[in-house]
């Protein structure tokens, strides 16, 4: 059985950044396993710009952003196996994969990094009723048909969910000659980035229906009509509010879920909120030597944050590989407090604090005039004032290594509204 220092599962933005980080931290014997025909992951179909403002201080398209990392990994001599699907992960850090060249292969590693990405919630995950006709797609699926394969899925379009991919597709399909009749969002606020609301809907006069949802699809062979209804504060449709739109296409942008069947199978502890693994400051999961990053860990708004965390996971794995027996002392839990949905990472090690740690989190409702508070053992460690804070934008708070070294009890990150 072939042994590597590190196996990285997934060659998208997270996997490539983790590979670069491993190399830069002195770990050379690594391999990236990518299921698609080329590395780059979902970035390859995101041909719009706006990627890389933080990482490269410039606006790049998705493929251009990916290209920088593809080049970098090539320069560093990272082996990337494409069209390669991982079929099994063992808690003993063995990985089984399959591809056309090698057949079924089992390999082992000192460390495994999960950079497996996420998938779009399908229609069946929500209570939308009606006919099983053609013409209902997830937004990312329509994006692949259009940007990779070169086919337009329809001419009259409605979009359910104001997630970023849905907003981007509203603009994209309009530019390609389709008529987008509207975007419905079940929540009273948008789930997309404000810049996307502005640039993709407002600039094209596409109406956004807040507190509305598509309740029914109607069509014999292909979609003919959708039923849109307003919802009450419990998200239940209000009878009498039915509106009908004649459309041949419905795109769903109703959420992304970390792909976690590999980690599920070996019983890695999952976070109920993120639906990804629980990780510590090194991005190590509950299974020793197995790390996680990218959208497979938690769904990101910006690829720059993916890159940052993946680099951290790469360094964490490198540190682990070099000194597996290192005692890190007791782990202190970092949890989500008031108005906060989750935090990543969720554990730190005060006795072994050699790096500052940045915590990523999202609020679970839009708040104004708020303050981010980090508390431990009843004492306030940090507080940051925020004029406005919204669920669609990921927030960050940094704790210095000496602060972490001084922690004794559980840490809570909360957001309070100032009166």
């Amino acid at each position: 059985m072939k042994h590597y220092e590190a196996i990285i599962i997934g060659g998208g933005s997270a996997g490539l950044a983790a590979a670069v980080s491993l190399k830069e931290n002195g770990i050379n014997d690594i391999v990236v396993l990518e299921k698609d025909g080329e590395p780059g992951g979902i970035l390859q179909q995101c041909i719009h710009n706006g990627f890389g403002l933080q990482t490269f201080k410039e606006q790049l398209s998705g493929p251009a952003y990916a290209e920088r990392f593809i080049k970098k990994t090539a320069e560093l001599g990272v082996t990337v196996k494409t069209d390669t699907m991982v079929t099994k992960l063992g808690a003993d850090k063995t990985v089984e994969y399959v591809n056309a060249e090698e057949g079924c292969v089992k390999a082992s590693a000192d460390a495994v990094i999960l950079a497996v990405g996420c998938y779009e919630r399908p229609r069946g995950a929500i209570t939308m009723t009606g006919d099983r006709c053609a013409g209902v797609y997830t937004a990312g699926q329509a994006q692949k048909y259009l940007n990779i394969d070169g086919y337009l899925v329809g001419k009259r379009v409605f979009i359910l969910g104001s997630g970023d991919i849905g907003l981007i597709m509203a603009r994209r399909m309009t530019l390609e000659g389709a008529k987008v009749l509207g975007v419905a969002e079940i929540m009273p606020y948008s789930n997309g980035l404000p810049r996307n609301i502005k640039q993709c809907l407002e600039d094209f006069n596409i109406p956004l229906f807040l507190s509305h949802t598509v309740t029914k699809t109607i069509g014999k062979d292909r979609l003919e009509k959708i039923e849109l209804m307003q919802v009450d504060e419990n998200k239940n449709p209000i009878s009498g509010s039915e509106q009908y739109f004649d459309v041949d296409t419905l795109l769903l942008s109703i959420g992304l879920i970390p792909e976690n069947h590999l980690s599920d199978e070996i019983g890695i502890t999952m976070d109920r909120s993120t639906k990804g693994p629980v990780v510590d400051d090194r991005y190590m999961t509950s299974c020793e030597g197995i790390f996680a990053c990218g959208n497979g860990l938690h769904v990101h708004d910006l690829v720059d944050f993916v890159t940052m965390q993946a680099a951290r996971a790469g360094k964490g794995a490198a540190d682990y590989i070099r000194d597996k027996s290192r005692q890190r002392g007791e782990a202190v839990r970092v949890s989500a407090g008031e108005n906060v949905g989750y935090t990543v990472p969720s554990y730190v090690h005060p006795a072994d604090s050699s790096d500052d740690v940045e915590f990523f989190f999202r609020v679970n409702q839009p708040l104004e005039n708020a303050v981010i508070k980090v508390m431990s053992g009843g004492a306030e460690i940090r507080s940051i004032k925020k004029k406005k804070i919204i669920p669609s934008e990921m927030e960050r708070v940094l704790l210095k290594k000496d602060v972490i070294a001084g922690l004794s009890g559980e840490v809570t990150i909360s957001v309070e509204v100032l009166s």
Partner: protein, 445 residues
Amino acid sequence: MYDIVIIGAGITGTMLARELSRYDLKLALIDKENDIADGATMANSAIVHTGYDPEPGTMKARMNPEGCRLYEALCRELGCKYAVVGALIAACGADEENHLDILAGRADERGIPYKVLDSKAAHEAEPNLSDEVTKALDFYTTAVIYPWEIAIACAEVVVNAAGVYAENIARMVSDNVRFRIEPRRGEYYVLDNAVAPVKHIIFPVPSKEKGKGVLAVPTVYGNTLIGPSSDVVDDLSDNGTSTEGLDYVTKNIRRLVKNVPLNRSIRTFAGLRPSADVHDFVIEEQEGAGTNEFAHGFINACCIESPGLASAPAIAKYIINELISKRMELKEKPGAVLTRERPVVMEELTPDERSELIKKEPAYGRIICRCEQISEGEIVACIHRTCGARTVKGVKKRVRPGMGRCQGGFCEPRVVEILARELNCAPTEIVLDSAKSNILESENR
């Protein structure tokens, strides 16, 4: 000119066709849809009922136990999935417990094995049973199958096996039709195969009004079905889901099973049962058909609602032995092959076997469906088999890409591409299911 034409390529039609293919006959199997098993056979509970339920004296009572006994061997002969999971009929309270005794009595008469479980034993067998369950019958030989897989495997005959449309077809030959189809829609949830709330099929105590009720069914591929609802509908093609139907399912399953993770639903679907006012299978030569020369020998196999799937093998034999053989002489065809080898399923091979196959056919090494791990080789093969797939749903029915948690989000574009390539047509010509269910509007380059 055919000796026998079968109208309807669902489970009843295809199984009859298979049985008839033993004989030297010219057969035709006709269906209004563009694939086999697109009606009730596609959307049901996938259970081989053992036959304790039907009222004594009915065709159902005659066909179901025998059909069930034939299934395991049939699935083996056809290379189809057959998984014994067992079924618990769960009673809540004294009234329902009394009904269990009736069912147990019927099972005894029909030689169907079962065990009686008291509340404690039932909860031990199935920890997620609701606390209200007081007693259960364990029909431990009950199996689940992949219904359309069997119909497709059978596929190759004027027996009226046209499911919910049967009445219309029968009316063409006689005005003296003794049944009226009242299609009942059943809606279901399909849960992610990462969650398994039940190990057995869980039934409520059946009732005349509601039929078998809302069930939880572990399927052959690990997903759990929750359903069905039961609403009479007017429209013979109305297989859309409804809020009322799904709410009914939600409410009723909670009475029997706790911790049902409906939040892990990956799909909802509805199927139409060909129910009728007679509440029994109608398998007989159409009366009065003799006055119409074209309708001479017109046989109805109608109103095949539950337990139709479980009864199908017995129905096929009954039609041949009791009805067709009285009309014509059936000569056995030497060398008739009624079996089918199971197609290659990568998941069922050992790593070494897989590697060996990939060496010969590299396409088996390219995984297209990431959720269910289906290779390009399997997809290509299912297109080129007899009665091969022509649609995205046809591929899904045969080799399962799109059956997983992403529901084709990732693999559907790849399947479209492969279908177009293998059928030598433009991707814009590929349809999801019915003839006009196009997936792509236009080329855009």
